[in-house]
């Protein structure tokens, strides 16, 4: 177990969104404001960590044939708990996330990590994996929402800073409206993935050069 390496994998080299390309639907749909990005990111982080712990704890007693069904039941349990708690205690966030919160059940990040990591690793390693992969997801969501919010409507930090109003950096009518729409999500995400892949190949090439 190597926490440093897991940290780097979750945030950079094996980032759930930019490298594993998991959870794209929510990434594109939810990143229209800073508040949404942060809320969704943290919800996934919590659910991912909890379900990682449980799945890794029960991995030895779960028969191989029904493991996917068991994973889904465990994940659905946590998602419903978080959904109900948000509805009861943070109704604004629950309203903003809408249908995407219950849809975390089928978010591939969580099932993907359960299958790829927790089923083979110990409880502690899985817990850290959940935290770091969740952080990686959250960071990408925040970057996306900052870019889309700024270019699309000239604002920053809507729903979180400045008493919930956010900062208006330039007047809203000059924003590129297209970025706040779904198509803007595709464009923004594609650019981010391209940048990420470019950076990763560059460092990889450098390493190989220094080796030879």
């Amino acid at each position: 177990m190597n926490i440093g390496r897991q940290f780097k994998e979750g945030l950079v080299t094996n980032n759930p969104v930019l490298v594993q390309l998991l959870g794209m639907c929510s990434t594109m749909a939810i990143t229209t404001s800073f508040f949404n990005g942060l809320g969704m990111g943290l919800s996934v982080l919590i659910i991912l960590t909890l379900s990682n712990i449980i799945i890794s704890a029960i991995r030895k007693i779960v028969p191989d044939k029904i493991r996917i069904a068991m994973f889904i039941v465990v994940i659905a349990c946590f998602v419903t708990c978080v959904d109900l708690s948000l509805q009861a205690f943070v109704p604004d966030l629950s309203k903003a996330l809408g249908v995407f919160l219950p849809l975390i059940v089928v978010n591939c990040i969580i099932l993907g990590r359960a299958e790829a990591f927790c089923y083979k690793n110990g409880v502690l390693a899985s817990a850290f994996d959940g935290i770091f992969q969740g952080l990686g997801y959250t960071v990408v969501l925040l970057v996306m929402s900052v870019i889309r919010e700024f270019l699309g409507s000239g604002a920053f930090g809507g729903g979180v800073f400045n008493g919930g109003k956010g900062f208006q950096i330039f007047p809203e009518q000059f924003g590129a409206k297209i970025l706040t729409m779904p198509v803007g999500g595709f464009l923004c995400l594609a650019c981010l993935i391209a940048a990420m892949q470019w950076a990763l190949t560059k460092t990889k090439n450098k390493k190989e050069e220094s080796k030879s």
Partner: protein
């Protein structure tokens, strides 16, 4: 090799084990969910009641002195609302200081992401006094613009444009006598369905 695998598959003990494991997990999970639900249920209901109340008040002309008395739903009213693709939830008679001041109709209509729950106020003359959203799951940043009553290009707010419309204006139609927020046509259509349904339901009272 595949033969031995087949044998394991057919082993009744193994099948029983799979079934029992799943059953026990499901029972455990159901127990946990029931417990969480019992904690949060009251608060969620409270929030929804508050939301409905504030939505009712938002459509009344004189919120401070208004009282809302539930009206018994009839099949005719429900059918009238369904005719416009909306589902009637409840109807309240608005009493302003003891005098009749029209109706407030809580109604559901399909948006782009599930049902939009709204309250439509209709005054004694059958004109819409206002539309107020109780619950919706419209896409954040797109359909949610309609839900939060953002202004149209001509300056009128999207939900406020329904005020003053009567049964004579029916059917209200996006692109005709209703303007949609660009990119959120489906959500605007959903609200329009609700307003149409509410006007029709009020028309069917009595």
């Amino acid at each position: 090799m595949s033969e031995t695998k087949q044998k394991v598959d057919m082993d009744p003990k193994y099948i029983l084990k799979l079934t029992l494991t799943l059953l026990i997990t499901c029972v455990l999970v159901a127990g946990i969910l029931g417990w969480v639900n019992s904690i949060t249920e009251g608060r969620i209901k409270e929030f929804n009641r508050e939301k409905t109340n504030s939505a009712l008040k938002a459509v009344a002309a004189d919120p401070a002195n208004s009282k809302f008395l539930p009206v018994k739903l009839t099949g005719k009213m429900q059918k009238a609302a369904e005719g416009y693709g909306a589902t009637l939830d409840s109807v309240y008679a608005v009493k302003d200081g003891g005098e009749d001041a029209g109706y407030a109709v809580k109604i559901l209509a399909g948006g782009s992401q599930g049902k939009i729950e709204m309250v439509v106020g209709v005054d004694g003359d059958g004109a819409v006094t206002g539309v107020s959203i109780v619950n919706s799951s419209e896409t954040s940043g797109i359909g949610s613009k309609v839900m939060s009553n953002m202004p149209l290009p001509n300056g009128t707010k999207v939900l406020d444009q329904f005020a003053g419309k009567t049964a004579d204006d029916q059917p209200l139609k996006v692109g005709g006598n209703v303007d949609a927020i660009s990119g959120a046509t489906v959500s605007t259509k959903g609200v329009t369905k609700g307003v149409n349904g509410a006007l029709a339901a009020v028309g069917a009272i009595g």
